[in-house]
Amino acid sequence: MKIEESIVMPGNPSCQGCPHVLGLKALGLALDNPVLVIPAGCSTIIAGIHPKATLKVPVLHVPFASAPAVAAGISAAFRRRGIERNVVVWMGDGGADIGFATISGAAVRNDDIIVIVSDNEAYMNTGIQSSGTTFWKAKTTTSPTGKKEERKDLAAIMLMHRIPYAATASVGYLNDFIKKLEKAKNIKGFRFIQLHSPCPPGWRFDSSKTVEMARMAVKCGAWILWEFDGKFSFSQVSKPYKDKNKRNSLAEYLRSQGRFRGISDEEIKEIENAVEKQWKYLEVFEKL
């Protein structure tokens, strides 16, 4: 990509290997004329320090739990002013935890907005604390011996709001993400994408391996790419891994990240079962 094509400017203050920047660049390619609503999180920092800004689109920074509600208001005002711009909420899994009611409310109202949760599986901006989507057994600064709680399937929960468009995506497969955004932008109403965003400092892997880690997650079946546009389907990339035998090693995926250091074979087995269950219930959606 040429620098002038990117909505993210070079020299922005993201960490090396930051997945959010990959996602934002893809977003800029897929959507014409977006405005971004960003709640507190890593992207607050990435967007730059006043009077400088690193994103070449209008950005409204908003309180943590408020983003989809603010976006709904912007969308209403734009509609009345005859402005055609994609109103996009760009938030993390932290914003999705604390603002769970807010996302749910906007989905129920079918507000004309796109919500993207760039999910790095922990509260990274405050220093790697456990979130609702933190992977099973992962060590964070608030789960130093590994996460003991469940892991919620945010995208499936959003799907069950009967919204017109829901999907998962991955920074390891940006073409797939771009295709999904291109489809989403032509649909009216509430559109939701959960973007899997492996975080080098948060997951403890080398910053050159973000894309590789994202692909490993998909190839071992731990992150499943799917789309609902009226009908549920597994995305091309993930389809082969419906077959358990075609999946790469989950142990290898986990053991290449510091956050799973010391994980036992038994624990890996437990996670394998959890992953398999995830596939099974998504296959039910596929059959509907």
């Binding site: 730059g48 320090i49 309180p63 208001g73 969308s75």
Partner: protein
Amino acid sequence: MRTIMTGNQAVAEAVKLAKTEVIAAYPITPQTVIVEKLAEMVDSGELDAEFIRVESEHSALASVYGSAVAGKRSFTATSSHGLLYMYEMVWWVANARVPLVMSVVTRTIGPPWNIHTDHTDILTMRDSGWIISMAENVQEAFDLTIQGFKICEELSLPFTAGMDAFQLSHTSEVVDLPDQETVDEFLPERKQSYVFGDEDFTVGSIGPNEYTFKLRKDTFETMLKAEKVVEKVSREYEELTGRNCGLFEEYKLDDAEYAIVMMGAWSGDAKDAIDELRREGIPIGLLKLRYVRPMPRKIKRVLEGKEVLVLDRDCSMGVGGILGLELKSFVDNVSNVIAGVGGVDVGVEELVKMFSLFVEGKLEETWWFV
């Protein structure tokens, strides 16, 4: 047009006449009727606006923040716990200098659960940068709401119009509603200092400390200027409607040696109590605050040389009433009484007793009057 309606209905009428374009609200007793009435108006086409049926008060203020920052006249309403739930957004909207209007139907804060009036909720907004007004009667609740749109747009600050739970929100009174042409003449097209989405700029990003400092200072100075703006707007409104709704009202204060200072619906009862004491020859009068922010500094001059009693329907724990504390900061000879907290009824009889004790010099400072 003279008609009869409750405070809640009157506020909804004001929002309609102001040609508000986006409304978002979450119901809470005693504000509910405002929301219901506006939803009906939007559904029936009587009001050409968007109504966003949000899932919480936090989202109510968040949504109208979004619509207001993106250029449209916007309104929400809340009360008590609803206001506390949206508290983060209260500050955000003020610091972002976005004009919009919110009605606060004042209600005490639990526990115990209690839906009746006091002024604790609205006064939690005191330091946030909102323009804060408080109505005495249904007519004022209507007038302040209409004027709020003009005042907030001139100052780039959010505006709240407060009215007491039930005593105003659910009490029918005669109100004089201006016609649409009159309101249109009074209230021009919305203006605001910046509109989000028109150009590629960022709002609310991280900034150096000096920017926060500068913005707070600027809001502080705007609040000082706000006294003049409120007076100007209220004169314009008076020219069209004959009703003045300025920073404060003086009642039998000219020759008074004793002055009562208070705000809200019970000021009406205080006027009756003052009439009664006047009949006994006691030189007492009332200064009714319509605005807490801006705090009208002119009252220092008006109250000079008088013995002052400030009546609070709220308190700051262990220190005194909130209005009492405010007045003591710039007026001499101030006594302070806390009463009516939690909706405890304080009628004319109680006020006559209280004011008599005050005049006799027998009133205990920061007395919890029952």
